[in-house]
């Protein structure tokens, strides 16, 4: 009996460590985050008393938080489609056999290799209003001395940030979509050309469905990345002017590590988790439906 019991339960012993690690790094922080969000912890006091839903109530009145969320959505909604379309167009271009194709692809992919904070710093030099090459080039073209305040003027900061963001991450889309496009069955394209389908029809009816699974994943990855956009903006504007370009992850960082409102930050983080999980679940469901 004892031997049988041991035999039957040996499997649990085997998966035990893995489950433990998962719980430790996955579930525990989440649960602890939830607990903290109902407490009144700040790093300037020692109190850990429970305050009920006070932090969440405060959340809903926090205009700066909602604005940060809105900024994040705006960045995502503008940068993501541009990166997708640009990446797709580039991938289509590089599908043809060109001389030096490998080298071009390697060069194009370089921005992805650069750490975002470094690329942010580099773009901030490029955008510099007195010494930046961007203003210099514009000056050459227009013939006047140019001192455009790219990272300060309210109507220019968004284009500046989005340009940097697109520069860095379009190659990622390009690479994934190139792989997907290269895998499209050539004979299907040939069949379509004989069937009399033009470029658009072939693309929408045959190519797009074939690359959609990869494209959906690429969109999801980039969407999530954009939602936690931080480094580039931090290097370019620190969320300025004012809080005009502050994203939700910057807001969380400022609240938690500059203003030390630990429990309130936990509440913000939990809200973001809920929102993102909902989006991801919806997205995954859509992808599956499309298959």
């Amino acid at each position: 009996m004892r031997a049988a019991f041991a035999d039957r339960n040996f499997k649990y012993l085997l998966i035990g460590p893995a489950i433990f690690v998962l719980l430790l790094i996955g579930v525990f922080p989440l649960v602890y985050l939830l607990i903290v969000s109902f407490q009144g912890i700040t790093m300037t006091e020692v109190s850990t008393e429970f305050v009920g839903g006070r932090n969440y109530a405060q959340l809903f009145d926090d205009v700066r938080m909602w604005e940060a969320l809105l900024h994040t959505v705006i960045f995502t909604a503008i940068a993501l489609p541009i990166e997708l379309l640009l990446g797709l167009a580039m991938a289509q271009l590089f599908l043809e056999k060109l001389p030096g194709r490998q080298i071009f692809i390697a060069l194009l992919v370089l921005p992805v290799v650069v750490s975002p904070i470094v690329s942010g710093a580099t773009w901030s030099l490029l955008f510099d209003h007195r010494f930046g090459p961007i203003n210099q080039v514009i000056g050459w073209i227009t013939g006047n001395d140019t001192a455009i305040l790219w990272t300060i003027k309210p109507n220019l900061v968004y284009p500046a940030i989005i340009a940097a963001e697109i520069w860095q991450w379009t190659p990622f889309m390009f690479l994934l979509l190139l792989a997907a496009l290269a895998n499209v069955d050539k004979s299907q394209l040939e069949a379509a050309s004989i069937d009399g389908a033009g470029w658009w029809r072939t693309f929408f009816r045959i190519v797009l469905p074939a690359i959609w699974p990869v494209m959906a994943i690429a969109i999801l990855i980039r969407g999530l990345d954009l939602f936690r956009l931080f480094d580039i903006i931090w290097a370019l504007t620190r969320g300025g002017p004012g809080t005009m370009t502050e994203t939700i992850s910057m807001f969380t960082y400022v609240k938690g590590f500059q203003q030390f409102e630990t429990s309130y930050t936990a509440a913000v983080a939990f809200l973001v988790i809920i929102l993102l999980s909902a989006v991801v679940m919806l997205a995954l469901k859509r992808v599956e439906l499309a298959r």
Binding site: D185, Q188, E190, A191, S193, I194, D195, A197, R205
Partner: protein, 366 residues
Amino acid sequence: MADLKITALHKYYGGVHAVRGINLEIPAGEFTVLVGQSGCGKSTLLRTIAGLEELDKGSIEIGGEVVHHLPPRDRDIAMVFQNYALYPYMKVFDNIAFGLRSRKTPKAEIGPKVDRAAGMLGIHHLLDRYPRQLSGGQLQRVAIGRAIVRNARLYLFDEPLSNLDAQLRDEMRGEIKRLHQELGKTMIYVTHDQIEAMTMADRIVLMRDGVIEQAGAPLDLFERPATKYVAGFLGSPSMNFVEARLVAHGGGLGTLLDDGTALPLPPSRSEKLSGRIDQSVILGLRPEHMNRAHPGESRSGLAHYAATIELLQPTGSRTYATFKLGGTDVVAELQPHDVTQINQKIELSIDMNRAVLVDPSTEKVL
């Protein structure tokens, strides 16, 4: 009038000269089979006709119109691919209707046309399925349906049956031939399978190394091959080739094999060859022209040979028996019970009327 006219067509792949000067005219309504070993340029030729490959030299005319500068969609062709190339994200109906919709066929006509094509192929019950839910034979039927639903001038088949198992292949062969008879369209069919070529073609175009080796009706090629290659390519099992020497034999001519066996040629053939006495030739004998000798039979041109059978391959209706003739392994196609065991001695009669004699230096049939 020729429906397809190809003139001096050349095609290079990088450094490879894949198609080397093809001239071909295909009359309207004919079923032409391009046949040859892999790499002979037959698929390249077909793809060039379709416009999937650009030609390097020469011209292609379809229905009197020069088309080789046009994209595939403007050539009025339909094509069936070897790997089916169905659109995986569309149902069978939409797969078949895709070409019609691309060509802006009025909506009201699409349903009946697809219905008619599906009816001809017996795939009505599949119209609502996706390609991934179909078997290989069904996929091929859909692929054919996609081609015949359109009223194209030229139908191209690129080894459509090579992915199917043997039984299905036999079935589809008949099916495609029946479709051709029903539709009366000009069809070009590429295959490496000589049985497909023989059974289906109105005309076989046998290709080798990018050129046409011989073209003609299947039985013409089979019975009157122009070269050793053609003689060996058509027929299954293939023709036996034995080295021999032409000698004077009993008033006429005969072939003397390396082991001293003399096989007399019929008088009708002797006259033409009298100038070649003492020259070496290659003697080509089809397996089915070597039979068990019956006592008392004496047709002109039958040579007798006592063979020791080394290998037997019964197929049921026929038995293939391997033996040595002039030092070469040779296969004869015998009746099932002519031979029962190996090492058996059997008297064979070889029909020298049907023998093919090849000049070894030019490989041309004499």
